[in-house]
């Protein structure tokens, strides 16, 4: 059985990835800012 993956809307995918990705991105950015102290 093989399904064509087109039924999940792009909007749902963007929403799901945003909910997981935005906090992660914020955390990574904050950590990078703190990590820069190593090079000061």
């Amino acid at each position: 059985m093989e399904h064509v993956e087109t039924n999940t809307s792009t909007l749902r995918l963007i929403l799901a990835w945003s909910i997981a990705g935005i906090p992660l991105l914020a955390g990574v950015t904050q950590t990078l800012i703190n990590a820069m102290k190593l090079f000061q």
């Binding site: 064509v4 999940t8 995918l13 990835w17 997981a20 904050q30 950590t31 703190n34 102290k37």
Partner: protein
């Protein structure tokens, strides 16, 4: 002995129909790319455990507020909260692994969400009433169970959705566990600063908010997770392409049979070695870097190094696991063992020659491989034991993490202490440990070398398959 495969899929009905495994079977057209964010929602939340130390200092001033009062809790007492949680992570993943596998990812994620939120709320009650055992029970025991169940809940589902890239798929989820602390640490500090008053350090309200926020996030993950329909395969994927690889099996091994095989214990040892080495430096990086480079690495720079290591820990989980899809799991672990050996031998040289850049590079590579070890191992287990019980087998394997959690810091701290008390300069006090770690990697290399494909006698029999020697066979889920 081999176990009969049961395809009737007669799973126990959940008391909430929404949680039933049958309700999570994806309808035609459901995108598999919805599953990684579902897994991330759970792992990003439970990854908070790595950031629990931000509460330690405020919790020593719950009564004194500005400084510790005599009745306030001591840091040594608070240290047990994290240790209990880690202990129950190992216990719950081993005990509930089979239940997670058979009940499906949604039921497991829902359970993890309930336990994780309850853990925070019970701990908040412990803060309010200043009762430490309530925090041990809440965050330690109940939260620890959430860690174990939540950690393994999406693993086999992801591998079923991504049979063509199992390493990358589990790498994405397990990367979330590493990334959880990056979110939780600044968020917790910010919340405590908002709730802080002249009579309250703000931990109580922070726990309540975190419990509620994490519950919503994890429930979102539970709502969007799906298991693929039986027989589903990604477009253009031909399973026969894998059969050319001797280490990759198309058969399944029952969870309790897997632990009887030498392969399981060899992988256990390899993971234990890799984790021991990583935990040792991860926990002590700040102090170690300052002592090895006095005057060069300040406390602020050391904090920056720890932050950078967190990023490499997280990034390594995704990149090494993704790489393993191309070079194979066994080869990836060979890289960890060989490169780890070289890095640990190099650290004392970097310290002796005052080469900070070399030292930092070594630590970043070591910690990336530490993360990579975690994210590559589910796919390694899948290659050896098949997909059917990989989550449950992975759960039992995580006892290696618990064991390494004890061995790593002990090796670093006690040997350093011994050396310092015997007159070794602080800058060289870690050298012995580094050489011991390098030696451990040789053990890991040999164990990895010894791993072969699992003997066919352990393979679960498909319905109708006759096995003359299977008189003692037990139906699966008996």
């Amino acid at each position: 002995m081999a176990v009969m495969m049961d395809t009737s899929e007669t799973y126990a009905k959940a008391w909430i129909p929404f949680l039933d495994r049958e309700r999570t079977v994806a309808k035609p057209g459901y995108s598999r790319w919805m599953i990684p964010p579902a897994a991330l929602c759970v792992h990003l939340c439970i990854g908070q455990a790595y950031a629990f130390s931000v509460f330690n200092l405020p919790m020593t001033k719950l009564l004194g507020i500005t400084q510790s009062a005599p009745e306030d809790w001591k840091l040594t007492e608070l240290g047990w909260i994290f240790s209990i949680a880690m202990l129950f992570l190992g216990i719950s993943s081993a005990v509930f692994g089979r239940w997670v596998e058979e009940g499906g990812p949604r039921k497991a994620m829902f359970t993890a969400a309930i336990c994780w939120a309850s853990g925070f709320l019970i701990s908040a009650l412990g803060i309010k009433t200043h009762t430490l055992w309530l925090i041990y029970l809440g965050y330690g025991v109940i939260g620890g169970c959430a860690l174990g169940v939540g950690y393994i809940s999406p693993v086999s589902t992801l591998m079923k959705w991504f049979p063509d890239r199992p390493g990358m798929a589990t790498g994405m989820a397990i990367m979330g566990f590493g990334g959880g602390a990056l979110i939780a640490s600044p968020l917790s500090v910010w919340l405590m600063s908002k709730f802080q008053t002249a009579t309250d350090v703000g931990v109580f309200n922070t726990f309540i908010v975190l419990g509620c926020v994490y519950f919503c996030f994890m429930m979102f993950g539970a709502a969007i997770v799906r298991v693929p329909a039986p027989g589903w395969k990604p477009k253009g994927y031909t399973p026969s392409a894998d059969t050319g690889k001797k280490m990759v099996t198309k058969n399944d091994v029952f969870v309790y049979d897997a632990v009887k095989t030498p392969q399981f214990w060899l992988v256990w040892t390899v993971l234990f070695v890799n984790t021991t080495a990583g935990i040792g430096v991860l926990g002590q990086a700040s102090a170690m870097s300052q002592e090895m480079f006095p005057g060069h690495i300040t406390a602020i720079a050391a904090a920056g190094l720890v932050g950078l290591m967190s990023l490499f820990n997280m990034g390594g989980r995704f990149s090494w696991a993704s790489l393993s899809d191309y070079i194979g799991r066994k080869n990836t672990y060979f890289v960890y063992m060989c490169l780890g050996f070289v890095m640990y031998i190099t650290v004392p040289y970097a310290g002796g020659s005052g080469n900070v850049v070399l030292f930092v590079c070594c630590f970043l590579i070591i910690v990336s491989m530490y993360g990579g070890g975690f994210s590559t191992v589910p796919a390694y287990l899948r290659d050896l034991f098949g997909t059917r019980y990989v989550g449950a087998i992975h759960g039992i394997l995580l006892t290696a993490w618990s064991a390494a959690g004890v061995a790593g810091p002990v090796l670093i701290n006690y040997i350093r202490e011994y050396n310092v008390t015997h007159g070794v300069p602080k800058a060289q006090a870690y050298n012995t440990t580094m050489y011991i770690m390098a030696g451990l990697f040789i053990v890991g290399f040999i164990c990895n070398l010894a791993i072969r494909a699992v003997d066919s006698k352990w393979h679960m029999k498909k319905p109708g398959e006759v096995d003359a020697g299977a008189a003692d066979a037990v139906p699966s889920r008996a």
